[in-house]
Symmetry: C2
Subunit: 338 residues, 2 copies
Amino acid sequence: MEIVRPYLLFLGDVPDSLAAKTALGIVDWRPEWCLGQLRLPGCKADAGIPDMSIAEAKAAGVRTMIVGAVNAGGVLPDHWVATIVEALDAGLDVASGLHSRLADNPAIRDAARRTGAALHDVRHSSERFATGKGTKRPGMRLLTVGTDCSVGKKYTALALEKEMRAAGFDADFRATGQTGVFISGRGVAIDAVVADFISGAVEWIAPAADPSHWDLVEGQGSLFHPSFAGVSLGLLHGAQPDAFVVCHEPTRTHMRGVKHPLPSIREVIDLTVACGKLTNPAIRCVGIAINTASLGNDEARDVLARTTAEYDLPAVDPIRTGVAPIVAKISSLFGSSG
Amino acid sequence: MEIVRPYLLFLGDVPDSLAAKTALGIVDWRPEWCLGQLRLPGCKADAGIPDMSIAEAKAAGVRTMIVGAVNAGGVLPDHWVATIVEALDAGLDVASGLHSRLADNPAIRDAARRTGAALHDVRHSSERFATGKGTKRPGMRLLTVGTDCSVGKKYTALALEKEMRAAGFDADFRATGQTGVFISGRGVAIDAVVADFISGAVEWIAPAADPSHWDLVEGQGSLFHPSFAGVSLGLLHGAQPDAFVVCHEPTRTHMRGVKHPLPSIREVIDLTVACGKLTNPAIRCVGIAINTASLGNDEARDVLARTTAEYDLPAVDPIRTGVAPIVAKISSLFGSSG
């Protein structure tokens, strides 16, 4: 799946920014790919880029309209269909992060057939994967792992991509979730792959590369999350990372959606090394990324200093402090840019 | 998915017993469910039960014809279709373990529509699962785990079911693979489930039960297999076993399909406990099942005695020695039958 750029972001008429977080994430990380947004009357979200009609987007060079918002339930509202059909008829591809498939709507399916446009459903994988082989591939890889879901694994991988590129590294973010796929234009929502092919799909996402190239692989879930640990383990084995960063949210008391307490950062490091060495015996932790958004400045500084001391590893907040100390650690351990 | 019994086993015209191993496995464990076999001219497999036409099977009370053989590639040969359509027209359901879906064949789909019969593709799950919750459910559970794929996990779970029932336990085999689903009449091929729902599907397979009831859950893969460990971990978390048995094949030098060496039994015990305690802190190993088929009598006896001594746990070969020592261990640890 390769989503052609640039994008028009379709926000529908969602009631708040949270419902448009996919679109907002794309603009955050790839503003240069997003020429405009299309909002229906009543839309309360705003990606902060020019409003455009489909005709204007087409004239500006847009190639794909991204359905970058979700209504409750993740299904496609009937009153969004006309806009999607209009985009297809104008010659645009359409990519969606909804649970329901675009082609399951007859009007959309017919329009795509008529125009020959591509429909991308990034929550569904049409790619046929092999099972994972576990054989070491050339190229360097870093995986972000977590003490829980939704603790900043995607953000950290993207921040590392930006910082490493600025430092001269040849580095690419590798997407394993839907927003990440839109941000990289390629990838697979790994949690939607058939279970037998989790590690095989990750081997496809982060293939053999130049020995000095770094893949920055977006992690999913947590080895300690009772709902999703299988996905996290297949991802770890498929990514065969040389390095990993543990992501953590210090004020969270329970893992997302279940009653289990969070594991400690130490437990995550130890189990990630114990399991990860199966496909990369040299795996090691190179840093800790802490989301301190809910802490004051002093408290945040304390938490980061304490964590740095406790683990003898750079502990950063990718938003508040940036990830430069982790990139410095990578340079010192593995050598600097190619 | 509930497959109604009794069965007629369709063996097609496969060239050897290996290609009919699903059918042979069903007859081994559920002879009372298998009224007959249907073989096409040239079939070299034999389930050792009466040959029957579809009319004879119908008259004998058969409810479902099982496509219990595979040709190379796992697809449905064209010359098997007429027999399947004949079975549907006679009012039988049809269940298949092939990779291709029965309903993808137009003649089969039309016949099923015409007769209202059920088509079961056990390699594909039509059930909608929730994500796993990880909450402790009442009832006792045992999971068979392995040092590799194909080391006797299904056989061991079925042997334990038989032995525990004979000892007065209320115990049920729970299937997680295709042959197991035919043997239990219910279950899910867990490796065919979407990755996000592995542990949730297992929570459905082995639901809350009477506190003294034992689910004997068929394991899949290995936590140390780089292709399938994600499936194994989701299965472990969903099964939340009180007890587990490690299955092992002592002459195997590499894990199936990859270049990795086998882990030791000790490594499997330690990682299974480390990960399994997330959903059941009381998890413990209760025995070791070793497939000694390729060893002589003396050598087999030595391996079992040495393993028993090394781990201070009953080590058995389910075929050569039976699993009674493991059932005795379960009785001593958890109390005997209800």
